[in-house]
Structure formats: C-alpha cells, structure tokens
Symmetry: C2
Subunit: 210 residues, 2 copies
C-alpha cells in the first residue's frame, strides 16, 4: 500500500481527517467522493486517487462509510494510540504549545519539559515540571521517548537535535528556524514561521503593488 504516497497526498490526509470528523459529529454516516471533494475544494477524482493509494475503499453507488474511513485514517496517522512526547525549549513558544495543548486531542501526551534557563528550571507548566536540559539524554533513554518538539533558539538547535537523536528520538517537530541535518531515517517536520510570514508579505505585495 505505502509504495508511493505522495507528499501532496500526505498534506491532504489531516484535512480529510478533520473534514470527516466534522461530518461524523453531524451524524452523516456515508459520503461520496464528490461531496467530500466539494467540502475540501478539490476534485472528486483526486479524493478517489488519494483514498486508493491510502487503502481506503468505498462502495459503488453508495460512497464511503464515514465512521470506518475516519478510524482508518486515524490508524494510518498513528494517532489511535498514546505517544509520549517531550518539549525541549520552554520559552514563550514552547510554553504556548504546552498550554494550548493541541497534543492531547491527537494522543500525544507530554511527559517532559526541558530548558537551559535556570530561571525556568523547576517551574511547572500545566502540571509538568521544567527540567534542566542536562537530564535530557538520560530521560529519553530511561523512558524510551521517540518523539520530541524542538523550540530552542536557532544557534543551539543543531546540537540539541543531534543529542536527542543519539539518545533515541526518531521524530522531531522542529520550530527552530534551521535545518537539523539529521539522518534520513529520522522524521523531521519543520515549522518556519518567518518563512510563512514572508510568503504572506510577498503574495500581498504582488496583489497590491503590481
């Protein structure tokens, strides 16, 4: 099945998930590719192509069973089971992520917070104590943590990234504005806020100046 799931399909996967979740809450128990496509603002053909490579199947003349497809996507994304994650860097952004806690909803349970700043170490956020980054490696190994959020400044991101991977981390949600240069088998998802802001600025400029 996963012989060739394109990047473009992966981007749409969470969107399908959200869309179908909403339908479930509305009590809709089946949906056609064309109805889903309309809601997602894409073509029905693309929905069917995506579902095909993802191994999601429907029934001719009827459509796709909402509940079943929903659970299957959940399964594919690995958010049906609980993951333990840590957050490294508890500055403003790190703290905001902990407090907003979009994680729990998707099965990500925060089990550790780390920082270098002695003024933060020992503080509790949402009931979790901030530890010294000196404990990082030991903590990862001892608790067999595989997933981490990296919200440290640019200048130390590469170093800490490598440290974490050496200790056993396999996936990193990277908010530092730098490329971590890690081995290919490590899954890294970059969020570069300033790049996104510049994109906005460029598109705005193009519309309003040209």
């Amino acid at each position: 099945m996963q012989n060739k799931i394109s990047k473009a399909t992966i981007v749409r996967l969470p969107q399908y998930y959200n869309c179908i979740e909403e339908m479930l809450t509305q009590g809709i128990d089946h949906i056609s590719s064309s109805a889903l496509a309309k809601k997602m603002d894409i073509t029905a053909s693309l929905v069917r192509q995506d579902f095909n490579v993802l191994g999601l199947f429907g029934q001719q003349g009827y459509g796709y069973p909402t509940q079943k497809i929903y659970l299957k996507i959940k399964d594919l994304m690995g958010i049906n089971c609980h993951h333990h994650i840590i957050i490294v860097g508890t500055g403003n952004l790190g703290q905001a992520l902990v407090i907003n806690n979009h994680f729990e909803k998707y099965g990500f349970h925060i089990v550790g917070l780390f920082d270098v700043n002695p003024r933060l170490i020992g503080l509790e956020i949402s009931g979790i104590k901030i530890q010294s980054i000196d404990n990082l490696e030991e903590f990862i190994k001892k608790n067999r943590i595989t997933m981490a959020v990296l919200t440290v400044p640019e200048n130390c991101a590469k170093k800490i990234g490598k440290q974490m991977v050496d200790a056993g981390i396999k996936a990193i949600w990277n908010f530092s504005h730098t490329d971590l240069n890690l081995p290919e088998k490590i899954t890294v998802e970059n969020i570069c806020l300033s790049d996104s802001l510049m994109k906005l600025s460029f598109r705005f400029h193009l519309q309003n100046v040209s």
Copy 2:
C-alpha cells in the same frame, strides 16, 4: 514579470533570501546557481528557472551578485519598507508571537493588540497595550491597517476575519484552525499546527511500523 510565479517558487523565495543573507554576512559577493543550489539542496537548473521568473539576473561566467540579488528579493517580498500590523487574539500563542517578535526584523511593526478577555484588556506586552476587540474596526480604519495576525479560537475566527476585512484588512496571517472563506483578493496565509503535527505522526508511523 509576475505573469506566472508558481506556488513552489514562492515557497523557495524566503529560503533564497535566508541563504543569500547568510552569504552576505560571510562577505561572499557573488554566487553561481550551482553553489546556491547545493546549499539549498535543489538543482542549479531550478535556481536559474526561479530567478528567471522572478526577474533576478546574473552574468555568464560569473554568477549572481549577492548584494543586488538580496536587495531585489527583499524588494519583491515587500519587506524593505515598514508595515504596521495588528495581532488579534492575545492568548498564549499571540503573546508568544509578540514577545519573540520575528516581525520587526522583516519590517513588520506591531501597532495594536486586541482581545475579548477582560482580564487581558489593559495589560501591556512588550510595551503595547491590549485593547478590547470592540475597538478593532475603528482602529483599523483610523490607522489604515492592512495586515493582521489572527490568533483567536476556532469558533470566532470566521466572524472576526470578516469584520477585519470589512474594516480594510487586506492580508491575514491565520493561526486559527479554520478556513476563513474570504474573497479571493484578500491574501491569507494559514498556519495549521495540528495538521503539521499529524503529518509528522503519519510519516513517523509509516517509517517505523510498516
């Protein structure tokens, strides 16, 4: 020139900017497409194609003049002049954005903060007072604000988005996890953190379970 700058090219534009900025600080005054490509992990051909549609030109046998190209990209992205922006929603994420202030570096000057929460209204963050969202429309009109950051909860995002556009906002950096459904001429850049987290989870799952 801007007859057809593809989405893919726009994504790379801030990356070119960062790359070339770094080179400038290193005192490199010209660069070939192949050297830049190597640094960006793309092909030299793609660099030249991108630069062509963007109107960035070099010299055969020599390459591209770093300084000139840098300033031209800055110009294209509209970050050579000062923009006044406002932040609507000063919860944890909004506050983190103000405090981290990635804005100023790119010429975005925060001139207003807004929230509904009476416990936040009147507080100052980085020297800027949080106002009631009731003042929002008047403030936008009076100060001719065209760009806004939207960091409010999902359930009120659409309403506030429309309000802002009616008052004169032309570009929105949208952190609420919802589609704003605004007219096409309004530039919207969405950041959906939970979608990004799900993408990470899926890719991780694919690597480590299959």
